[in-house]
Symmetry: C2
Subunit: 256 residues, 2 copies
């Protein structure tokens, strides 16, 4: 059972403005909800359909905390065009840079506005065990439903801090700052110390002028085999994926 | 000037069914339209707004082929939520596997249904100069507007053939077949001959059972640094991006 008032208050969380006021966000689908339920994040409410209980009750220990609602009610509170069978309301976690480990790298995002790109970068970072992300204030917020969807549950394991990226870079002189530029050195030739700040720019504008001046090492993903008139750029999350892979792979060889 | 009948016939191309019948598809936005206009593809019609002419007439030699329409008419024929200032109707190219170069790799896609993933894979392939893609029949068609949008013009340079993937793999015994599997060898340890078939599976199901049996080399992108409960998988286009990067990088070192 869910009241109309409750449904309205959940629907308001579809909008950034109300997520900011309420400090809550929506997580949908079995994979993401089970991930967040077993994480350290604070799950405030979980709604499921009868079908979800029928399909999953045996495999999950959380069912006594759930509120059963109808598919129609689920459709009404969901952000998705195909409504899920389970939906959780989660408290927005607030991380601070003091939690960032000094011997691990930080991924820094400069004006990444596309929710799919941010979500995919969070998922990829999680795959490579890199759990520290710093976002400039103009990045899309990670509680955006499209970001959450694209992370496939990885949002629950990554520490994401938003703030003034210029200030953050300036205040961390001991960490080398690396970013992708067309005129950068080939990525295969780069050595990593392990505590770098790896900076990803926006899909359309790359790394901003102000941030560029704080970069110690410019990197490039070479397109050796491309014809002269080939693609002008890579998708931002693909470039990030290759950078995180190369970091992870090089560091592994150093450690082993 | 554009007639109502013409507008209706363009709007029908939003649907796969009519693209198949008419053998035409829609390309939108300045970057994609200019790329297709300078490519070998057959552009049948191009519509622009006055604003586009004003902004671009000096920089493009194609303007005498364009039909000027109003922003409202553009909104009506566009597939995008934010209509572009330029839209072209293009004949669907038909490539055959006899055009595939024997000494270059082929990217094979098994049941890739997500338009964003297919578009991003096409764009990444173009970046690395790999222009031969074979799609199983159940892949999303590359003329889907969301695919075209995600390729950022790269669709105009890549030969894409659809067909029976099992048959295709069986009929190309001279090419090594590589694919991503959790139990595969670490990708850094793989040597490439240069004419491989690099197989990418679907986001949700990976490479299908039938195709798995035809693979000669299983590959894995290691998550050495990940915590035990990290991400279960990478996004399909990220995995493809890392594979194409690694191929391109290793082959460069062999060639140089």
């Amino acid at each position: 059972m869910i009241s109309k008032g409750k449904m309205s208050s959940i629907k308001m969380l579809h909008q950034k403005k109300y997520r900011d006021i309420e400090q809550k966000f929506i997580v949908e689908g079995t994979k993401s909800c089970l991930e967040v339920l077993k994480s350290s994040l604070e799950v405030l409410e979980t709604y499921v359909t009868q079908k979800w209980i029928f399909d999953n009750a045996k495999s999950t220990p959380f069912s006594d905390l759930f509120t059963i609602i109808t598919p129609k009610e689920m459709e009404s509170i969901s952000c998705l065009s195909t409504p899920p069978e389970i939906l959780s309301i989660v408290k927005i976690p607030t991380y601070s840079i003091s939690e960032f480990k000094k011997d691990k790298p930080i991924i820094a995002l400069d004006n990444v506005r596309d929710p799919g790109n941010l979500g995919t970068i969070i998922r990829t970072a999680d795959w490579f065990g890199l759990d520290q992300i710093y976002c400039s204030e103009n990045c899309v917020e990670f509680t955006n439903p499209k970001v959450i969807q694209a992370t496939m549950g990885s949002f629950s394991r990554i520490k994401i801090v938003y703030g003034n990226l210029v200030k953050f870079l300036t205040e961390n002189p001991e960490r080398k700052k690396m970013g992708m530029f067309m005129e950068g050195a080939p990525i295969e030739t780069i050595d990593f110390e392990g505590n770098e700040i790896l900076i990803i720019g926006s899909e359309s504008h790359g790394i901003s002028e102000e941030i560029s001046q704080l970069i110690n090492q410019k990197i490039h993903i070479p397109n050796y085999h491309a014809a002269i008139n080939g693609a002008e750029s890579l998708n931002a999350s693909i470039a990030a994926g290759i950078l995180l892979y190369q970091f992870s792979s090089k560091k592994r060889y150093k450690l082993s």
